[in-house]
Symmetry: C2
Subunit: 307 residues, 2 copies
Amino acid sequence: MRKRPALNVALIQESFKGSKDKTIRVTKEKIAKASKKGAKLVVLQELHQSEYFCQCEDTKYFDYASSFEDDIRYWSEVAKEYEVVLVTSLFEQRAIGLYHNTAVIFDSDGSIAGKYRKMHIPDDPGFYEKFYFTEGDLGFEPVDTSVGRLGVLICWDQWYPEAARVMALKGAEILIYPTAIGYLESPKDRRDELCEKENSPKERKKMLDAWIGVQRGHAIANGIPLLSVNRVGFEADKSGQIGGINFWGHSFALGSQGELLAMANEVEEVLYLTLDLDTLLEVRKIWPFLRDRRIDSYGELLLRYAK
Amino acid sequence: MRKRPALNVALIQESFKGSKDKTIRVTKEKIAKASKKGAKLVVLQELHQSEYFCQCEDTKYFDYASSFEDDIRYWSEVAKEYEVVLVTSLFEQRAIGLYHNTAVIFDSDGSIAGKYRKMHIPDDPGFYEKFYFTEGDLGFEPVDTSVGRLGVLICWDQWYPEAARVMALKGAEILIYPTAIGYLESPKDRRDELCEKENSPKERKKMLDAWIGVQRGHAIANGIPLLSVNRVGFEADKSGQIGGINFWGHSFALGSQGELLAMANEVEEVLYLTLDLDTLLEVRKIWPFLRDRRIDSYGELLLRYAK
């Protein structure tokens, strides 16, 4: 079989610019530049058009989702203009009162290659996503594009080996995670015990390492490269309930043995890298984990708890 | 609920001593010493009574399994004498022509707390286990002991998130992996391409990191501490087919966020550490991954391939 050429990738790690208009304009400029530098696959962070509005529960933010169809048209044009496969992360209004956290993947001709609706929805202090997003109902379906078969998942999904495995079993060639994760800050006027505990340098390092570590586990267990694109910068909680979130950046790329290929810092950054997909997937011949799965004995994975 | 006292653990990483008699005598001495130092849980490496005989396929090695019942009596006495919960890894003859790679777990009174028959069986150059071991048929069942509910798995199992997850769903409080993994050496009289490639320092590091990394992923995804005990030292392949295996040691212990608690070097070593199980499992309240599993959408995990 003839090998495909190596794939040039750009991961765009950004901060929110104060308004949707300004934010998407800057993102578009970065995509233009990435395209000029040869990128054929561009991945954006979770909910990249707006601030991370899930820090509090407020119905006004549902209005952000009403432009879903316009947003699709906008990013379709961008993908087409700059001839890149583009992974976006949008707020989808499916009906009034029914919303999803949805990745729309465009091929380089601007067509919609596929959609993925976030399947695992978190709900933690500062991350009240269960208020906004209904669990996805499209399953774990990789998306065929001109650069390969992409296993796109979103943020909280990254903690679930099941999601990564199903994508791999369906022939995904890369796992891709747009994400928005960071450190909680204590409110200025009072000390919040959970925030304080989480904000010690030791705890921060442990969280960051765990975030990278669990995704590295998916890359290794499935013999598959992995891209993770995180938001960066401080965003206040407008409700004042918490002190805001410092999104920790550190977007990264792993090879199919979990080896680190590239990592961003905790600043705005576009991470460029090259993936030789055909070679990367060869590792499965040496480490044939898919060969020996005990599918006769995994039934309990479908239970909530098995004790 | 009253908290349990912290658990003192000893992980015994050894080399083969040339004969079963000598090897098990030295192991027993190490258990005695560990007990004296306060260890209540002692974990031994995979197939710790003998050389790693799976480097070649030879029916003579089936004789090693014929002493399974005697071996159980021996280690039962050791556990009882030194009052430790003991995780052993034995070669089980279930019938002539039917053998398993079996962990027998003894409680500190010498009683058998449980058995686990290795479920995932590898077969790679130098690791011809499918010739020797039939796949386990006891499922992924944690074992209740006086020190906690132990999720004992064996070596190749460590690459499978499914195994770790089922153990966690069944209430395991620690994941424990006796293992035997190392670097293949080229035969002295010829260059073996696979061995040479795998033996570059860069490839060795990548393999070691992947071995740690995939297990770290299980600890994080399940919010559970993890102990992995590996064989160490060079063992020749008596058939001359390969140049032998350098078992790489590096036994380690992780906390429930995947943080490294202790790690051995590439020499004989007993690793001591203390686990506060009740506190470690508290992390699941902050990172509630079990809460949000999409059990309605994991059905494809039971397929061999889903494309």
